[in-house]
Structure formats: structure tokens, C-alpha cells
């Protein structure tokens, strides 16, 4: 498989700042999105993005094409940076960190309901076990291929599918009150 980023990485390694800018423009949004979904905190996600790109520049000189897609490696570095931050949160018992709270002064119009719904979805995603959250962030929201996502998470494709299925089942349970169509087998899910 041809790596569309290989040339840019080699140029970064050779000291080409323009290539670095291209890497940032091409990948920063994805890194921020994945980190925000993992951490539930937009500010912290930006800090992760900075850490991740510092890792990119450091790793560029040792990059060997043909071993892994750059994007797969980038996903892995991003997810691992998020795992580190989540572990530090647990160690400091700051369980509420990252859970944005909707502004109560908002007027309950259509936009308000839309924000509320988005907030509920984010809270549900935040309740998933970390590996399920990572799998959903990559496969569902970033539409990363199953093979690439499995490589980024360091698991088999079968294990990835198990993480995804368990994650979706839990989301369905957590969000059941938002959609009548979801109520179908929630009772069955809750017995698990």
C-alpha cells in the first residue's frame, strides 16, 4: 500500500519546514477530533495535538517507509497520548475533568436542543471504556478502515469488531431515551 504521506515525512526529516506545514494542515483536524472524543475536552485535545506533532517531528528522521502508514502511526500516538492523560486523571481522581457542561443561560430553541443532544452523545461516549471509545472514535467518527484501526489500536480485526459492537451496545443503552427506535432490545442489552 502506498503511503500518501511518505514523501512529506522524508522532506520533514530533511529539514523542509513547508512539508511540516503540509503535515499539520492535512492531519491536525483529525488528531484534534480523535483526542476530543477520547478526552471530552476541547482545550486538552489541542494540548494533545501539540504533543503529537512534536512526536512527529522527532520521529521523522527515523521514519522507515513501507513499515506502517503514517496515518496509522499518528492514530496510535494520538490514542496513546490520550490514554496517558486519562490515566493521570484517574490518579488525581479528577473524574469530572473533560465533561463540558451546557450553558444553562441558553434559550431552549432548536439550536439549544441540538446542543443538548450533542452533549448527551458526548457524555455517553465519555462513559465508554477507553478502548471501546478509541475504536468508535476511529472507525465510526473518522471512518478509518478496520485494518488500519486495528493496527492503530494494536489489536486483531476480530478484537476490534468486539470493541466496536460492545461500544455501540452501550451507547444504545445510554442514549435510549433520546430515540424511541433504539428501545427495541435495550432490555436485552441491560441483562448482559
Amino acid at each position: 500500500m502506498t503511503d500518501p504521506d511518505a514523501d512529506l515525512i522524508l522532506r520533514v526529516a530533511a529539514g523542509d519546514a513547508r512539508a511540516g506545514e503540509q503535515i499539520v494542515l492535512r492531519h491536525s483536524a483529525r488528531v484534534v477530533r480523535v483526542a476530543r472524543r477520547m478526552l471530552g475536552d476541547a482545550t486538552e485535545a489541542e494540548d494533545v495535538a501539540q504533543d503529537v506533532f512534536l512526536r512527529v517531528w522527532k520521529a521523522a528522521s527515523g521514519w522507515r517507509t513501507g513499515e506502517a502508514l503514517f496515518q496509522t502511526w499518528l492514530h496510535r500516538v494520538t490514542i496513546n497520548a490520550c490514554y496517558d492523560r486519562l490515566r493521570r486523571r484517574r490518579e488525581t481522581a479528577d473524574a469530572e475533568a473533560g465533561l463540558d457542561v451546557a450553558d444553562p443561560s441558553d434559550t431552549p430553541d432548536e439550536a439549544w436542543f441540538k446542543r443538548q443532544r450533542a452533549q448527551r452523545v458526548r457524555q455517553a461516549i465519555a462513559q465508554l471504556p477507553e478502548r471501546q471509545r478509541a475504536a468508535i472514535a476511529l472507525c465510526h467518527f473518522e471512518q478509518t478502515s478496520n485494518i488500519e484501526a486495528a493496527a492503530a489500536l494494536g489489536v486483531s480485526v476480530d478484537a476490534l469488531e468486539s470493541l466496536l459492537a460492545r461500544g455501540r451496545r452501550m451507547l444504545k443503552t445510554l442514549l435510549a431515551d433520546l430515540g424511541p427506535d433504539l428501545l427495541g432490545d435495550v432490555g436485552e442489552v441491560r441483562k448482559e
Partner: protein, 123 residues
Amino acid sequence: MDAARFEAIVAAYGADAARWPEAERAAAQAFAQTSSEAQAILAEAHALDALLAADADEAPVSVTLTRRLMRTIPSPSPQRVWGVAAALAACAVLGVVVGYNSPQGDDPAMTALGAAFGEGFEG
């Protein structure tokens, strides 16, 4: 493709075929067209997909963050800059020397280049 595998695919990847494994996508889509059971499975998965779409985060990276990330790009090291400058200087000297095509063997510039490039260099 059988019902069990189709159900497993949808349970993991949802109702949108774009997310299904590439190797099985065509077979799964064909199965979905011919099975009422598959349609029911898809409808249920679609309901969750629609809810998750509320968190579709397509906002571009802010200019502030982009600048912050751009600032992390390492500038070429002084050693690399010096190496490039030295190479350019050598090329310039070489060009001047070749341009003059001096027959003088005792030209200091020729002597320096001969030392730099080895015995094979001839002006």
C-alpha cells in the same frame, strides 16, 4: 455472507456501508437487498448512527491552534544550514574556476579545490 455475519458487521460498524469492511462490503450490501431480516437490522443500527451524528464534529482547526502547531515545526539545524551553505559556496567557487578555465596550476583556489575534492579534480 450469511445472516450471522451480516448482523455482526452491522453490530460493529453500523448501518452505513461506507464503514463496513471493504472486503465484505459488496457481499453485505447484496445480502441487505435480499433479506427482510437484514433490513430490520439496518433500521435499528441506523437509529443509533443518527443519534451519534449529533456529535459530528467537522469544525476546522482554529487559526490559533494551526499557528501553535506550525511553531512546533523544527527549523533546519545550524549544522544543516552550514552544510547547505558550504555546498553552495563550493559550487560557486567551482563555477568561477570552470568559467575562467585557468591554465595556471598554482592558483590558490584550484589548490584548495583539489584538496577538497581529491586528486581526480582538474581545473
